[in-house]
């Protein structure tokens, strides 16, 4: 390994096969307290046509093997707890441990969604306080906490718009989406029953406001805008954009994935946004957990309030809180039960820890992104040069000359001890390097990242092969994705065991 790598070193760690390969009949990892009622013959009570004798193929292992299995697997992962994870658009910030603690408290984790509301006042107060905090942060009038993630929030938001427009007499046909948008935006619009009209960004990466005027017809239900955009750039003309839409009776939806750039500094509600979602698993620090769970609350202006999904949290006389399910204009339910409550608890814990000081987090996030930008400008191509907020998007244009693309640089970054940035989008930047450090990175960690990126750029020029064949330090490298997709193996089967090599 090159001496450039200051951040990581190789070290031996444990192999581990699939848990099914450890199974041997008679091993147990879990035992139940003895049955304290008369035993039943389950064959008799279920009847032969319903009854099965245990699940075929289920593993039989012991407790220590379970601990070792998953502990070993875990050591093959990179994580925020190990280092910088500058995955653009994902806001991989520190996930405070106290949040995990409070979400698991007896009286919090143990509560059943159907229990009587007089026994749920604690839960309901948590929901109410979180609603109020998020309304203050977004500058909106009403909110629903139910959506399970950002995309789910998008759907909820578009359904609100649709219900509102329907009430006006016409749900309209189209949703406008900039070409820089995240893939969930168009995918969601379709589920909400809209056609997607992609709109091209102008040369600085912003919405082309003049063109927009042409696009916004009576057919347009809404524009879905991400602000700051996925380029990390604030849409300066957003109030004007809102006016254009409103003039035609259309609404402005804001994808709030990037609220980490704005919290405490400005409020979408003040900017003319009608409805937006928040990603609590991004801006509000709930852990990503390998892909979820999250929560995607939707905040809205008053006009949309009547359409909120049920149940609705209300405060009764005397301060008693209640969930109400009868709301004639509601879009209905977007999921069973009330929402990812455990995630909401964590987000509230985060907000309470900062209080108004949450603005400092925003400032530090923007500071980090600009610090990195400053040091890497010139080293990497910066296709859009407007000021960066919480993230900066470079392209691999310079390195391409040596046949090195963003994915190669990303893989090489692994050798340097970092999780790569986002490579998959925004689509308007071919070969994007979308870097979002978040506020959780120290100057020291940012400096190491900058050094690593500069060093890789040098390698790309001087020794491109080392970059192209990276990573060199991981257990496995450059897995064959084509083979995986061509002949998918999506589950373990006993036959497969014998032929496959140990993991």
């Amino acid at each position: 390994m090159t001496d450039q790598i200051k951040k990581a070193t190789r070290h031996t760690n444990q192999n581990e096969g699939l848990i099914f390969e450890r199974s041997s009949p008679g091993k147990r990892a879990f035992e139940l307290p003895p049955l304290d009622v008369p035993a039943l013959d389950s064959a008799k009570s279920l009847g032969a046509h319903h009854r099965a004798n245990g699940v075929e193929g289920f593993p039989e292992v012991s407790e220590i093997e379970v601990i070792r299995h998953f502990t070993r697997l875990s050591t093959w992962n990179y994580a925020i707890d190990l280092g910088m994870y500058p995955l653009g658009s994902c806001t991989m910030k520190y996930n405070p441990r106290v949040n995990e603690f409070v979400a698991r408290l007896d009286g919090i984790a143990t509560e059943h969604p159907y229990q009587p509301q007089e026994l749920s006042q604690g839960c309901l107060k948590i929901l109410q306080l979180l609603e109020n905090c998020l309304l203050e942060i977004t500058g909106m009038d009403a909110i629903t906490l139910q959506p399970a993630a950002g995309a789910h929030g998008e759907l909820t938001g578009l359904l609100l718009i649709r219900a509102y427009l329907e009430k006006q007499g016409n749900p309209r046909k189209k949703v406008l989406i900039p070409d820089s948008a995240h893939g969930t935006n168009p995918a969601t619009a379709v589920i909400a029953g809209y056609e997607v009209e992609n709109i091209k960004s102008e040369s600085h990466g912003q919405i082309d406001v003049d063109k927009l005027r042409d696009f916004v017809t009576e057919d347009v239900a809404a524009l879905m805008i991400t602000n700051p955009s996925t380029l990390g750039i604030f849409e300066e003309r957003i109030p004007e954009i809102a006016e254009i839409l409103h003039a035609k009776g259309a609404l402005l939806y804001m994808d709030g994935a990037n609220m980490n750039a704005l919290t405490g500094v400005t409020r979408p509600g003040d900017l003319g946004v009608d409805v937006m979602h928040l990603n609590l698993h991004k801006t509000f620090s709930t852990p990503h957990g390998g892909g979820g769970p999250g929560a995607g609350p939707v905040a809205m202006k008053k006009i949309l309030e009547p359409f909120r999904p049920i149940p609705i949290l209300v405060e009764k006389d005397g301060g008693r809180l209640a969930l109400e399910t009868v709301r004639p204009s509601s879009i209905g339910k977007v999921r069973a039960f009330g929402g990812n409550f455990g995630v909401l608890v964590r987000a509230l814990a985060y907000i309470l820890a900062y209080g108004p000081g949450v603005r400092q987090a925003t400032e530090d996030a923007v500071l980090n992104a600009n610090y990195i930008r400053k040091h890497l400008e010139g080293v990497f191509d910066l296709p859009y040069s407007l000021p960066s907020m919480h993230e900066v998007v470079f392209s691999d244009a310079i390195q391409k000359r040596n046949g090195i693309n963003t994915m190669d640089i990303a893989k090489r970054l692994i050798d340097y001890g970092f999780h790569p940035y986002t490579t998959a989008f925004p689509l308007i930047v071919p070969g994007a390097l979308m870097i979002e450090p978040t506020e959780s990175e120290s100057k020291e960690e940012c400096d190491l990242f900058i050094q690593a990126m500069i060093s890789i750029a040098e390698e790309a020029a001087a020794n491109p092969d080392v970059v192209k064949s990276a990573p060199h330090t991981t257990r496995v490298r450059r897995l064959d994705e084509t083979a995986a997709a061509r002949k998918p193996i999506l589950r373990w089967m006993p036959a497969a065991t014998t032929s496959s090599a140990a993991g």
Binding site: P113, G183, P293, V358, R491
Partner: protein
């Protein structure tokens, strides 16, 4: 602030490096008049100790100390401390979607194991990891059937969880689906005759739940045959996965939508849980959600990657099979750890304890004058009872005895206003069951 790793001096150094005089300069792109002048009105800042005491105070306002007989889609089951031990490892907790396979093999292999466990449980060939919950999984299964069949009518058993039906309706509204409901018969199962009558060649899917919302196990084969005969797909929802430790897997189904909450996830007042969609290999390219697949690396070693991503929104955008991105991965991991712990015998034993306890409770409650079983069908750990007076009133009295009684079915099924759904799991002790039965008997003995 304790979460921020910068000293005032370091902030100054960084600003200087950028060439900015103040942090405000970095926000100059936001029109001045929209920049907040005042601090947000938020409670806090709270120290860690204050955060904890805030939530402990809230917890004390909830149901601690009550015995509950609620199920209805969310079940209390034993969980092992091992599950949280694994979940709380930062390497799992604070990692994200395994886009970079080389440094997320832990998550990827665990997903692959989850998929395998789900296939084994459901008798299906492929399972995704994961959907938001059982209700959205059921809806996504129906949308998948719509894509697969190109048809728009959906026949849904009324014994499908009422909230699952509501969610389906919300999604259906704008996707051209026509959802029709099919009633239940005396034993609590779906009205097969009515179902058959409604089955035409325009039906995309028949949707059942088993055990259904009344706790009754459905017999799938006849329905499956009928559905297949008219070219429809059978979608089976599983809201209580533990039943699969003793009951046959829904192998006849074309698509299974499961709620995995029973596998190591606490009730947590509504979430997070994990939904799963499982199906046939041949349908995989219409599946929603994430899939991990086995492959080899440059050196020929086994490894795992996210695969078949061309179904997903980040590639296919408006043509994706679903808009899902962030899912319930950590909940799926919890289920993976939990089911690995239980294993074949543990899950079987847990299921059999549920059966035995529910039968025990049923036998005590049935003896109470005026109380009778609503349905004669085979049940697992839940059953529906008819009471001589409103369940609401009975529950109010039970609450005084620190018992959370049956779920009143009236709000969901007007025709069942005196019926209540009782759930008993392995966590309900005999003493609690007996006290519950005695209390109900005493309450009913008093004039209403």
């Amino acid at each position: 602030m304790r979460y921020l790793p910068k000293s005032p001096r370091e902030r100054q150094q960084m600003l200087a490096a950028i060439g900015a005089n103040s942090i405000d300069e970095l926000f100059a792109c936001i029109p001045e008049r929209f920049r907040l002048r005042d601090a947000l009105k938020l409670p806090g800042p709270f120290s860690e100790a204050e955060v904890i005491s805030y939530f402990k105070d809230r917890a004390a306002e909830n149901s601690l100390g009550y015995t509950s007989f609620l199920g209805a889609g969310i079940y209390n089951h034993l969980r092992s401390v091992i599950t949280d031990t694994i979940l709380l490892r930062g390497e799992f907790l604070t990692s994200y979607t395994p886009y970079q396979a080389e440094i997320t093999q832990g998550t990827l292999q665990a997903i692959f194991e989850f998929q395998t466990l789900m296939c084994q449980l459901t008798g299906q060939e492929v399972a995704n990891a994961s959907m938001y919950d059982g209700s959205t999984a059921t809806t996504e299964a129906v949308l998948m059937a719509e894509r697969l069949t190109g048809r728009a009518r959906v026949l849904v058993a009324r014994s499908l969880h009422p909230e699952y039906r509501e969610v389906l309706r919300t999604y259906a509204k704008n996707s051209g689906l026509h959802v029709e409901e099919v009633g239940y018969v005396k034993d609590g199962t779906v009205d097969v005759a009515a179902l058959k009558a409604a089955l035409k060649d325009d039906v995309a899917a028949v949707v059942l739940q088993s055990p259904n919302f009344f706790g009754v196990l459905e017999t799938l084969s006849e329905v499956a045959d009928a559905a297949h005969h008219s070219g429809a797909l059978l979608v089976v929802a599983i809201a209580e996965g533990v039943s699969l430790g003793a009951a046959k897997p829904p192998a006849e189904a074309d698509i299974v939508a499961m709620e995995a909450q029973s596998f190591g996830l606490p009730p947590s007042y509504g979430g997070p849980y994990a939904g799963v969609v499982a199906s046939r290999d041949k349908f995989v390219r219409q599946m929603p959600g994430r899939l991990a697949g086995q492959t080899v690396d440059a050196a020929g070693q086994r490894g795992f990657v996210l695969t078949l991503a061309t179904r997903e929104q980040h590639i296919r955008r408006e043509k994706a099979t679903s808009n899902i991105c962030t899912n319930q991965a950590l909940c799926a991991l919890a289920a993976t750890v939990h089911l690995t712990l239980l294993g074949k015998e543990g899950l079987r034993e847990m299921a059999e304890q549920n059966l035995a306890k529910a039968q025990f409770a049923l036998s005590l409650l049935e003896k109470i004058p005026g109380v009778r079983r609503s349905f004669s069908g085979t049940v697992f750990n839940e059953f529906t009872l008819e009471f001589p007076r409103s369940v609401r009133m009975i529950n109010a009295d039970l609450l005084k005895e620190k018992i959370v009684g049956p779920l009143a079915l009236g709000p969901y099924y007007p025709e069942l206003s005196k019926h209540g759904l009782v759930c008993v799991t392995e966590t309900t002790s005999r003493t609690e069951i007996e006290r519950f039965a005695q209390t109900v008997e005493r309450i009913l003995a008093k004039p209403a």
